[in-house]
Amino acid sequence: MNNAVEIRGLRKEYKGFTLRDVSFTLPRGFIMGLIGPNGAGKTTVIKLILNLIRRNAGDIKVFGLDAIKREAEIKARIGFVHETPRFIEDATLKDIKSAIAPFYAKWDEKLFGSLIEEFSLPLDKKFKKLSHGMKMKFQIALALSHDADLLLMDEPTSGLDPVFRRELLERLSGLIQNEQKAVLFSTHITSDLERTADYITLINDGEIVFSLPKDVIKEKWGIVKGARELLAEKSRSLFKGIRETDFGFEALIDDIPAARKNFDSGVVIERASIEDIMIFMDKGGDRA
């Protein structure tokens, strides 16, 4: 089985929010970033993969195994990092580690020790005494210490300084030197994805906008800028999102060559950053 995660037609209904028809595939040996504005449904997808909440419809396979039927087996092979680290507040880090390690057959005490040292974590301190960043680092150390085949991380970089974020990203690309492993992480810090992510899945208002190799996005998605007189009705259909001002317009497109043909001159076409795409897609309301 060459896919780490395979999701088909996933649906989850909440009061006032529905995650609908979510499908994407993460092959082994790659890193995928899950992006989207707050409340888009990123955490819901991650919770569904871990079977922490019940789904209304759809299929999830992790390492080719059904996420519900083989839950225990799958979880032993996942390193999970939660958005807000939660452990017993009064326990020391050492106690928490001792309680968690026995659950994992492949627990690597030596690796854990070196991560603790590298992250400068105080093992004798109580969990509640740590800053958010330290709690996150502790959680990451735990997730990395049992030779997980899939790292599933919900906003792991929030609250971390740029130096540690970069280190974490380096560690992730180190992890997939082993082609059997994969990483799926959600983030709204798009610069984390510009470099190392292989795939990017954008989710907005409960729906997948796209799930594509990052290179395809970087090559084809762009921003067209020009005077408003150039805005013909037919060109509007090319736009994924548009911002108009008194002085001109800026629009998101997903096919730079087609846009070049459509607007022969007088416009500027630039490559779109992941952040541009996220911002324009979020303003989907004024889409043409």
Binding site: G29, F30, I31, L169, E170, S173, G174, I176, Q177, E179, R195, T196, A197, D198, Y199, P213, K214, D215, K218, E219, R271
Partner: protein
């Protein structure tokens, strides 16, 4: 092997890698049979996506510059000397074509261009 990635360049990253490795093979800085880093290693070192490095290697392989031995690694291909010469000629041709189109754009005629080339050629000797 040297690879420098520019994030501000309008050229896609895979093309930057492709071009730089190719130049090193043609110049002989990368010798025949020399091992290249794996796509994953290169991606990690350059802090870029695996898909990007894979694409660069795939194109180099298609163009006959490198060979991948599955399970072993990637190596600089044995270059056919005739072919290598042809490739080098092609680079010269491309650069000249570029100069010609620039010249045309600025309204510089063939005579003047010839003079320029002659001058440059002698200067270099």
């Amino acid at each position: 092997m040297k690879v420098i990635i520019s994030n501000s360049s309008s050229d896609p990253i895979y093309e930057q890698i492709n071009r730089q490795i190719k130049a090193q093979i043609i110049s002989g800085d990368l010798a025949e049979g020399e091992a290249l880093p794996s796509i994953r290693k290169l991606a990690q070192e350059l802090q870029i996506s695996v898909i990007t490095t894979k694409r660069a290697y795939d194109e180099l392989e298609r163009e006959g510059f490198i060979n991948t031995v599955s399970g072993k690694g990637t190596y600089v291909a044995v270059q056919n000397q005739e072919l290598l010469k042809e490739k080098k000629m092609k680079i010269v041709e491309e650069k000249l074509a570029e100069a010609v189109s620039e010249a045309k754009m600025m309204g510089i005629g063939l005579d003047y261009l010839e003079d320029m080339l002659r001058l440059l050629f002698k200067e270099d000797q």
